[in-house]
C-alpha cells in the first residue's frame, strides 16, 4: 500500500529506531534532520504524515508547524509532534498550534505505530 511518512528529527539513533518500526509496518519512510529546510522538504515529498521533533537545529518544531498550518496545501496535513521536554505547557503549545497528535519521549513503539495509522485513517 505504501503510505508515506516524513520523519523530521535530528538524533541519529531515534531516526533509526522509528524508521525501523515504520518500515516493518510497510510504510515508505523519508527522514530529514534540519529545521531550516524542513518546510521545503515537506513541500517536495508531499508525505501523508509528518512526524516532527520539537528541538531541531536551525528552527523549532513549533515554527515548522506554524509554517505548515499557514499554507492551504498543508493546512490539514496530519502532524505527530514528539518532544523530550514533556511539560504540560509544551503540550498546550502544540495543541494551540494545531498539532494533530502529541507524544512525549520516551515513547512505546506500539503507540507510535498506532498514532501514525490513526492519523492516516482519519
Amino acid at each position: 500500500m505504501g503510505k508515506s511518512v516524513l520523519l523530521i528529527e535530528d538524533e541519529p539513533n531515534i531516526i533509526e529506531a522509528i524508521s525501523f518500526i515504520l518500515l516493518r509496518d510497510g510504510w515508505e519512510v523519508n527522514t530529514h534532520a534540519n529545521g531550516q529546510t524542513a518546510l521545503a522538504r515537506i513541500a517536495e515529498k508531499k508525505p501523508d504524515v509528518v512526524i516532527l521533533d520539537v528541538m531541531l537545529p536551525g528552527a523549532s518544531g513549533y515554527d515548522i508547524l506554524r509554517g505548515l498550518r499557514a499554507e492551504p496545501e498543508t493546512h490539514d496535513l496530519p502532524v505527530l509532534m514528539l518532544t523530550a521536554r514533556g511539560q504540560n505547557k509544551d503540550r498546550d503549545m502544540a495543541e494551540k498550534m494545531g498539532a494533530s497528535q502529541f507524544m512525549t519521549k520516551p515513547f512505546s513503539n506500539a503507540d507510535v505505530l498506532e498514532a501514525v495509522r490513526s492519523l492516516v485513517g482519519s
Partner: protein
Amino acid sequence: MATLNVLVAVCLAYVALLFGVAFMAERAALRGRVKWLRSPVVYTLSLSIYCTAWTFYGAVGYAARSGLEYLTIYIGPTLIMVGWWWVLRKMVRVGRAQRVTSIADLISSRYGKSTILAILVTTMAVAGTTPYIALQLQSVTLSFAAFAGTTEIAGVGNSRWTALWVAVGLTLFTILFGTRNLDANERHHGVVMAIALEAVVKLFALLAVGVFVVWGMSGGVGAMLEQIDASDIGSWQMQGGRWAGLIFLSAAAFLTLPRMFQVLVVENENEDHLRLASWAFPTYLMLMSLFVVPIAVVGLARLPQGANPDLFVLTVPLSQGQTGLAMLSFLGGFSSATSMVIVAAIALSTMVSNHIVMPIWLRVAYGGAKMSGDVRNLVLFSRRVAIAVVVLMGYIYYRFSGGGAALAAIGLVSFAGVAQFLPAMLGGLFWRGATRTGAIMGLITGFAVWTWSMLLPSFGTGEILSPQVFEAGPWGLGWLRPHALFGIDGLDPLVHAILWSMSLNTLVFVAVSLGSFPSPLERLQGAQFVDVFLHSARPQSWSGGVAQSEDLLIMAQRILGPIEAQALFRRAASKQGLVGYLPEPVPDFLNELERELSGSVGAATAHAMVGQIVGGASVSVKDLMAVADETAQMMEYSSQLEIKSEELTRTARQLREANEKLTALSVQKDAFLSQISHELRTPMTSIRAFSEILRDTDGLRSAEKAKYASIIHDEAVRLTRLLDDLLDLSVLESGQVNMNMRRGTLKDILDHAMAAAGGGKALPVQRNRENEHIGLWTDLDRLAQVFINLIANAQKYCDASQPELRILVKPGQAGGIDVDFVDNGSGIPHDRQEMVFEKFARVSDQGAGGAGLGLAICREIMVRLGGRITYLPGQGGGAFRVSLPGEALTTSA
C-alpha cells in the same frame, strides 16, 4: 685653548649626568616609585623651562639695552601663576579630563575634534617655535665662542659645527627619553627629572655669578646700588604701552607655548601641584631676575665698548679670570637651552605625529583601523622623525638667519606667534558660543598679521621685505606697511604688531563665532570644556549599537598594546556587570575608550578611528536634549527637585532590578529543568525503542541484534556520563566539594591533560615548555580536568583545514598566571561568547557528543580554585584563558 678642551669635557660630563638622571628616573618610575618623582616641587621646577637661554643670557642684554623692561617677561607669567585659580586650574582640569596631548589637541578637541584646526595649530606652533629653537642653538654657539676667545660671533669656523653637534645630541636625548611611551598622558619621568635638575643648575649658576658681581667685584650691596644709580639703566624710563604689551604677551605665551603647555598640563600629575607652583614659580622667576641689573651694570662699566651684552653673564667672570665660575655660568646657559629644545621637540613631535601623520595615514589606509599590524610602531617612528625634523629646522633657521638679531628680539617674535592661540583657547574654555569656524578664521587672521608685521620684518630690512615695502607698503598700498598697518604710524613696532594681530584675531574669532552655528559635537565638547567643574564626566557623543566590541578591541590592542587594552575592556565589561572582555558598546564605554586612545594619538584621530568602526552618526537626540536643557539652565533652578527625583528613580530602579532578577531566576530554573528533561529523555528514547524492538521483533539477524544492543549500551553510557556531569556540577555549585590541594608543576599537569585527551595526534599542540616550569599548589586533578576539557573542545570544534592548538603561559593579574588555549579555527561567534560557559550551551548545532556541561563545570572548578576561565576575543581563533591566582603559585617547582 686648554680651557676650551676642559669646557668640552665638562659639557660632555654634564650631558652624561643628565642621561644618568633621566635613566634613573625612568627606572624608578618602572619600579613604581612615582610619588617621589612627581612631587609638586619637581612640577614647579619643570615649569622653569620658561626660562630659556633667552632669559639666562638675554635678560642681561635686554637690561643693558632697555633698562628694567626685561622685568615684563617675568611679570606676565607671575600674574598667571598667582591667578591660577581662574585660568590654569581650568586648563589642567580640562586637559586631564579629556586626556589632551598638546595645545593643538586641546583646541581641536574643544571645537568638535576638528582635524583642520589641529593641523592649523600644529603648523603655526612649528612655525612659531622654530626661531626659538634656533635661538637656543645660537646661544650655545655664542657662549662656546666666548670661551674660545673668538668674540667675533657666529657663522665663522667651527661655530657651525658646535651648533650641529648640539642639535644632534639634543635630538638623541629627546628621542631616547621622549618617545619611550606612546601615551602622552603616561608622562615622561626621565625628561621631567632632567629638566628639574637643569632648573636647579641654571638658577644656581645665575645666582653665583650675581653674588660674585655684587660682593666680589663691586664691594657689597651699598656700593652696587650706587653704581646702578650712576648708570643709565638706573633711570626709570617706563613706556606704558610697551610695558603693557610685553606683560600681556609674556602672559599669553606662558599659556600657549607648546612646551609650556606640555609641562603645565600634559605632564601635570595632580591638580593640587598648582597650589605650590602658584607662589614657588614666581619666586623662582624673582630669583632669576634678581641679579640681572647688577650684572648688566658691571658689564657695561668694566667690559670694553662693543662687547655683546647678551654674553655678560659669561664674559664678566671670564674677564676677572674666574674660569670656574664662568664654566658654571656656561652650564647654566647650556641647561636653559637644552631643556627648552628637548621639551619643545617632544611637544611639537607629539602634535605633528598625532595631527598630521596619523590623519594622513588613516586616510591613505582607508578602513585602516581594522587592518592588522601594530600602529604603535608607526606612531613612535613618526614621533622620532618629527623630533629630528623639528630640531633640524631650528638648525637651518639658525644657519639662515645668520644669528644676526639680538636674542630677545627673536624670543619676542616667537612669543607673539604662539600668543595667537590665546583667543581660540580662552574662548573655548570660557565661552560656549565659540565655534570652529570662528576659531579657524581668528587663528588665520592673527597669524597672517603676525607674519606680515613681525616675522618677515624680523629677518631684517632688505632680507625678505625690501625697504620699499616698509616705506610705501606692498604694491604701493600705504595702509599695508608692515610697521604702520591701516595708516596708524608712530607706534613701537612690537606694540603695533601685538595690538593689530591680537585685536584682529579676537575680533574675527568673536564675530565669526557669533555668525556661525556650532555642530552638535562642538556644542557637547563646548559644554564639557566650559562647565568642566560642574560635570567632569558626562556622556558626550557616541550612540553605539552597531559598534562591534571585538573590532574595537582589535584596534585598541594595536594602539594601547594587548595587555592594557584587554585590561581596559575587562574593566569596562565588569563595570557593566558582564564577564569577559567585550563590554556593550554603550556611549559611556565608547567615550572612555576614545579618551584612552586620544592619550596616544590625539582626540581628532581617536574620534576618527572609533568612528570608522562604530560608523555613522555620533550624536544622539538625547545628547542634544541634554545640551538644550542645560543652556536653558533649568537644572540650576530645580536642583533640589532633581535630587529627590533622582533618589526616587534610583529606588524604583533597584526594585525593578530586584524584580527582574527574581523573574530571571525563575525563568532560568524552568529552562534548566526543561533542559535536563530533554537531555535525559533523548538517550532514554533510543534505549526504550531499541529494547522494544529486540523484545518484540522476530527473526532479527544477529548483526542487527548486535548493532541495536550496542546502541542501547552507548546510550546508557551517555546517560551515565550526563548524570555524572550533573552531579559534579551540582556539587561544585553548592560548594560542598573538598579541593584536594597538592603540589605539582604546570608542565606535568599539561602533559597529563594532553595524554588524557588523546595526545597530540588528533590535534597538534604547540607549547613552550620553558615557560611551564611553574610550581603550583592547587587541586591538580581538577585543574587537569579543566585543561582536558579545553583540549578536547579544540579537537572537536576547531574547524581549520590544518587544525592546531597553542598553549601560552603568561604572567597574569595580581601576581597570578594566565594559561591561554588558542586554536586556529573560526572561534566562537561574537553573540555566543557570553553564553558558552552557561549550562547546556552548545555553540555548534552538530551535537558533538557532549551535553554542553563541560565549560560550565570548568567555570565552577576555576571559581573554586580562586581563578577564572574567560573567553578571549580577537585572537584569530577560539581562545580560552585560564587564570590562576597568585596564591596558587609556589616559589619552587
